[in-house]
């Protein structure tokens, strides 16, 4: 917390939606979030981390190297058991995993297709019109904070054996300093902070 900077991003309202609400999203470099929900043998996980933590930059990937770094990061994030190591006794396997990079603007517009025309410039990948892109590069560098999001569904043969998680995540991503972990299990919800210095989390108190 001490050395990280809390940045609040203003999402610039698209002209066509001038009367629309403007929302602010918190964005803290060095700090990611991992939500874990356990129900029976199913474990659902959600992961968010600033682009700075994962690939070291948050501007739109332009060079080959940048794009390669993003692709590699997305591929790594799609293998949750390598990042968040669960006890072998729990016999967990991944049934579904997806990871993506989202810019602030795109991130707000999950189900608003109308926005795409205005906000595409902020999307980092899958962009076709590079001429338009470069027009907005300056803006993207100013405010284009990006976040990696990932969602996982695991099946664990013995969920009671989920006594701890060790975060190899910190070894993989050197810019990450802290993860805020929230766990929902039978006994309710609890929050934890896992830091680089002590990258394991005991979950015994939950069972």
């Amino acid at each position: 917390m001490k050395r990280t900077v809390l940045l609040l991003l203003a999402v610039n309202a698209a002209p066509a939606l001038a009367e629309d609400t403007r929302q602010l999203d918190a964005h803290e470099h060095g700090v990611g979030a991992l939500n874990i929900a356990i129900d029976g043998t199913t474990v659902a996980m959600e992961f968010h981390a600033p682009g700075a933590d994962i690939v070291g930059f948050e501007y739109a990937a332009e060079s080959e190297a940048d794009r390669a770094a993003v692709d590699a990061a997305v591929a790594t994030l799609a293998r949750p058991l390598d990042l968040f190591v669960l006890p072998a006794a729990a016999a967990c396997s991944v049934t579904q995993a997806s990871a993506e990079l989202e810019s602030e603007q795109a991130h707000d517009d999950h189900d608003h297709d109308a926005h795409k025309d205005h906000d595409d410039h902020a999307e980092h990948s899958g962009h076709e019109d590079h001429a338009e892109h470069s027009d907005h590069t300056e803006h993207a560098e100013e405010a284009g904070h990006s976040e990696f999001h990932a969602e996982y569904t695991l099946t664990c043969a013995d969920p009671t054996a989920l006594t701890e998680i060790s975060f190899a995540y910190f070894d993989t991503f050197e810019n990450a300093r802290e993860l805020e972990v929230q766990v929902i299990a039978g006994s309710g919800a609890q929050a934890f902070e896992v830091e680089r210095d002590a990258p394991t989390l005991g979950l015994r108190s939950l069972f």
Partner: protein, 416 residues
Amino acid sequence: MILRLAIASLFARALTVGMTILAIALSVALFLAVEKVRTGAKESFADTISGTDLIVGARSGSVQLLLYSVFRIGNATNNVSWESYQDIATRPDVEWIVPISLGDSHRQFRVMGTTRAFFDHYKYRQGRSLETADGVIMEDLFDTVIGADVAATLGYSVGDPIVVAHGLASFSEHKNQPFRISGILAKTGTPVDRTVIVSMEAIEAIHVDWRSGAQIPGQITPVDVIRQMELTPKAITAALVGVESPLQTFALQRAINEYRQEPLLAVLPGVALQELWGIVGVAETALLAVSAMVVVTALIGMMATIFSSLNERRREMAIFRAMGARPTTILGLLVLEAMLMAALGALLGLALLYAGLSVAQPMIDSAFGLWLPVTAPSLQELWVILAVVGAGAIVSMVPAVRAYRMSLADGMMVKT
């Protein structure tokens, strides 16, 4: 041999030793009691609300939302519109939703408007439901159910009429629509005890003649007419939500937090309670530090008694030495005596704690709503006892070393 000697020597000085042991016992009992109250308070606090997956309110902070929606401390920054409430209620992942409407008061107690579902879904202390101690849950529009503290403080019983005041500290009352107490809830130890509960419709009903926070002069809609009106609320203060499956909780929370039409906030009650305890919890550390100092004081007291006993026992020590006891034996004897005293004191303290706990437990529960479970001594308590014995040994080293050095010469010299 040396143990028998130590025990016999302690018996020989039964009174002073007894007092020392009592002092240690009381200090240990105090320390363990503080620890019990601390963990009990923490658990009672965390059990204020259970079974609710999300609390939804206007966007502010998670602690603030928890404070006004559950603890009825402070006020909401904004209301939640009925449309947004309906939007959330109709989502497929929402199993149940209970609206809460705050803002009016009766004497020093808050009035909360809600639905009957509140009594089905509000759980405390690991899944316990609200129960009426007397009467029934409200049936009529102008029925109210009051918490145990409200009834006890104001001396109300079932059937009494009460008038709700507009706002929190105002003199304008909803005189034209008095309520009737239909039920009194059993003591829960939660903020529900200090709440007057009415139906959501009743909150609308008493505000029929009010516009922009003031009563319209001269306009009094008869109660019969109000009963015919459609009393759909326009806004609520907060809502308690239960999800179909815990797996959907985070998705629902995010959907509410990113709800575009209105700035809303959904918090996990457990996490918010933890956050709040983090703020309140500084006091618990202070409390623990104070009781630890009491234990230290008792041990230093023991050291003082040993020191003064050394004077009385000069001859005794010298005789031991003359009979061939080595200085280390003298040292061992004194340390052993101290450890015996400390161990006896600690065990007596534990016994005192459990005796006191079993007597006071029901009283503490009914007076403070604080449930202190009588469980077998935890590993932590055994560690405390061990630590006291160890600390006893360490403080006794000081007089023991003195005796070790002086026993022979000092005792043999004729001083008197």
